[in-house]
Amino acid sequence: MRGARAWPLGHALVVLVVTLGSPPAEAAALGVRVGFDGAVVLGMPVPVEIRVPAPDREGQAQVVLDASALGPRGPVTATTVIPFEAVPGIARVFRETVTLLDVRRPLRVRVRVEGRDVQDAAVAVDPARVGARLVLALSASHRGLSVLRSLPGRIVPAYVHEDALPRQWQAYEGVGVVIVRDLDPGRLDGAQEEALLTWVRMGGHLLVVARPDIPPPAFLDAVLPARTGEARTLPRVPGLEARYGVPLPPGPYVVVPLVPRTGAVTPGLGDLAMAWWSVGLGEVRMIGFDPWEPPLEAWGGRLRFWAEFLGTPGEHLVDAQYAAHGLRTEAAGDSLGQVIVGVALAAYLTALAVLRRSRPPWRGVVAALAVALVALPVSLAVAHVVRSRSVTLEQVALVIQAPRTSGGRTLWVGVVTVPYGGDYRLRVPSGALLLPREAAGSLSVERSGEDTWVAGTLPPEAPRQTLVALGRLEVAASGVVTGRWLEVDLGPDRLLRAALAWHGRVYPLGGLPPGASRHRLEPDRWVSPEVAASSPLLARVFRLLDVGVIMKATSPILVGELAGSRPAFEFPGVSGRRATILLVPLSAGG
């Protein structure tokens, strides 16, 4: 009973202390973290974390992120709007992905409640932290990667903790390599794990450092090229010296032996614990020695070692700008709009011609003026109809099949044209992330439940806006070219206007059915890329692809247009041409 009596008093004291000790809710600062440990890549999505202090009023609220960009007529703003319900006393944390196009101006973050700005923060990006590629290291030791600055291509290292890993795989788009050294899987949620794995399958590069007595995170097990063995201490590692040509400092070296899985590649240099393999479109490497630990941390061969891991960024099979250029030639007229205008003009002229014959002549003159007066609002209405109908959205989805996975890395490229400028608002394909690459005018990205909408106003001088979104589509195509045979399995999908590209030549295939099929490749049917691009069958597909890049690919590539409806940019009331082009890297046998 004594305790029971004491508790209400204690509770009251605690509440009093907490209340007095807390600053007023809106006086607390808005917390904003941009990029990976502050590192960003221009034109690439980066994660942004916004900590909104508890507001003192409730209502409809928004977090608004204003990122500057350069438009054709000067600075424009790419705004991202996240709606939420403000509840007094409840702080919120938002994790968003934005694309920075101009770091000369800070990222402005505002919190609006019921239409009023209640919080404001401007976050400048350190120019020294802007790179062309980022190297993310999940490592307790925050040193050793500064040597990367010596490599060409403005590589910026960033040491991050688990909570900084994004929940959208596209947020890794500017990252060259993620290095996993010290990762506590218990501090990651499912979305973060899935984002990292999806990124690897969609083309990301992962390096896992196997450490003594610390097993690699279990969620990575499916993508690891090797299993780890018992750690050993060696006086020297001659394989490492041989591979990178730089003598090692005196040992001892603690090495975790790697047991490669089927399909994994090893350097074949005895004690050099290293294995790698391709996972989808990406690659996972594993090493059994720790570059952060002495004596390797002082090794002169570190630069060559990292250079091999980072490599040089390869050319992407698809190019958004190239596709946008191909789309722009496809603007089509609106025949119904022309009919409406034609009929309206003819009716007006006929009415005037008839009325001007009325007797007495004054009546005709006055009646003609009255008709002109009535025709003015009609003209405005017809103009509105014509403007609405002349808005076009041409788009293509370029899907690269990730080998041995059920997905494809997909780049949606849309060109919205509003003749003589004006407003547009369209829905981004489900699950895709908009990448505002070139802003013709200010645009706004609005989250609305599961949907993302992009809206903007195009100036009369630049009435076209190219929109690019990155995502993943479900596709499961595979195939092999063996001698004069192509064996392909498209799963449930059907391919139209298909062609095989290999060794600088193109083989037109036409339509391919769902499931497995086998096709004989006749030697005399291979044509040059120029001939393929000009053929009526393949012109539509090849106009949107940089054939030169595809021809340089080391493996045969099946190209074709996927039949059926797929997720795409949706502009309510506007139906434009759309296509989904699938590229399947094939294996070459025999």
Partner: protein, 240 residues
Amino acid sequence: MSSGEAVLSPVLRGDLRARARSRKVVAIEVFLLSVLAFLVFLGLPPELSQLERSREAGLGAALATVQLVLVTYFTSACAAQEISVEGEKSAVDLLWAPFSPGAIVVGKSLTSLVTPVYWLLLGLPIVVLAAAIRREPASSVLAVLGVTVAVAWAVAQWGLASSVLVESELSRTVLHWAILLGVFVVTLALPASLRWINPIVAVGAAAGGAAPTGAFVLYGLLGGLGCAAANSALRRWGGP
């Protein structure tokens, strides 16, 4: 006589009556509006892949130019009697009626003002359609109409003067065309700083959003001088 007719100058009243019933004027109106409508139809998006509103060579400026040239020509041709409107008396003929030269010139001048305004009002729905499709501001449309009226009226005043000064029909036509060429073509040879005097340049600037105050005032003054010249010539014909 109604109160409305009492307000109107008798010369203006007579000319407007004649023009209201003239088949030639109706034909001019139908032709003018048909040309404008045709241009608007051709200019529907996407017209020749030109979707940007260009200030230099947009179809909006082209429409304004064609309207300017046609309205100016027809207004001045009627005033110079190159196009003789059925039932409309010339300024010289009116001297035999009990009108002073000043009243005749004012009446004819007002006719040359009302006529293009009426034609432009009839063409306004077509022009507004083109402007609204291109999101051109109303101020640009009004500026274009203002310059067009000023130029048409000014050239028409010199046409009126030539109708009084020159008796020969052929010589009058040649003089009228010389005035038109001078206004529309010769002014293009002016230094760049004075190029705004050219009506096509002025109307293009107006269509692009500029305020063509200089051109408006200049052609207003030129029109006034034309009026004065016509009045002086009529007085020489022996009016009171």
